[in-house]
């Protein structure tokens, strides 16, 4: 029996504990057999976080603030973006294939951010490409840097 079951602890008899990392580790072990040294075992899963704030990066230039949100796997029409009273709200639902064949899983991205003073909310614009949502929020005229000539 010993020789027939060298991998039982990893692959067979341990019941799923509800810990996503445990399950994904088992997936790797099935896939990669006896090469654990090459496992990227703390690689993360696409499906298990329920409400997740997307990774974002922010820039400022003379005319605007620009936010870039990482939202892979969506279509532009599935993203809801709202700016109201100095707050930017973003929500989107992503569908992914689940581990069970032919079924779907989904999770949502959700985030609310306070915008700085002196922005022109009405002229904000956004675009979505290659999984990145770019939001451009123009500065109000009075907040732009102004050169002052020295006489």
């Amino acid at each position: 029996m010993k020789y027939l079951s060298p991998f039982t602890r990893r692959d067979g008899l341990v019941s799923f504990s509800g810990d996503p990392f445990r399950e994904i580790e088992r997936e790797f072990e099935k896939l990669f057999g006896s090469w654990p040294s090459l496992f990227e075992s703390n690689g993360s899963s696409l499906t298990f976080d329920s409400d997740r704030s997307p990774v974002s990066s922010w820039y400022e230039n003379d005319d605007a603030y620009v936010a870039r949100f990482e939202l892979p796997g969506l279509k532009a029409k599935d993203i809801e973006l709202e700016i109201k009273d100095g707050t930017l709200s973003l929500s989107a639902e992503r569908k992914t294939r689940s581990k069970k064949e032919k079924s779907e899983a989904s999770y949502s991205y959700r985030q609310s951010l306070s915008l700085p003073d002196g922005v022109n909310e009405a002229d904000a614009s956004a675009s979505y490409e290659d999984g990145i949502l770019a939001v451009n929020i123009p500065k109000a005229e009075k907040a732009k840097p102004r050169r002052i000539a020295i006489k």
Binding site: N42, W58, E70, I132
Partner: protein, 133 residues
């Protein structure tokens, strides 16, 4: 000026992977990914937001699949970054796939920042039913 107050921002979910030797200065994130195991193939889905088709390099060498994703967008020089995100860092994922995959049949496509790689299983790795007499 008021600093942007980013509410409920979680720490960057991707850790910074190892650095290459100093000469290239390239830093990598390990992207999020999941592996789906179906009867005939493994399917790997990798989140690579910001990477277009032209920015992807996928290689298979000595049983190790390497995916490198370079972003197609860079902030113009006169833009000031106002948080310390890693968002301009390239992605790299290395997976040992051993000999369970039919190398010739590997296919990849990228859409909306998600890369899907399909790795067909070699015949003798497919599940086989053994009938009980």
């Amino acid at each position: 000026m008021t600093l942007l107050n980013i509410l409920s921002k979680e720490p960057a979910s991707n850790e910074v992977a190892d650095k290459k030797p100093a000469k290239t200065q390239t830093r990598y994130f390990r992207p999020r990914y999941q592996i789906l195991d179906t009867e005939n193939a493994y399917s790997i889905e990798v989140d690579v937001p910001g990477v277009a088709k032209s920015g992807l390099e996928i290689t298979l060498e000595d049983g190790v699949l390497e995916v490198v994703g370079n972003r197609s967008w860079k902030a113009p020089e006169d833009w000031k970054s106002i948080d310390n995100s890693y968002s301009e860092v390239a992605y790299r994922l290395r997976l040992a796939i051993g000999d369970s995959v039919n190398d010739g049949g590997i296919e990849a496509e990228v859409e909306d920042g998600v890369l899907r790689i399909t790795l067909p299983k070699v015949e003798d790795k497919k599940p086989r039913k053994i009938s009980v007499k």
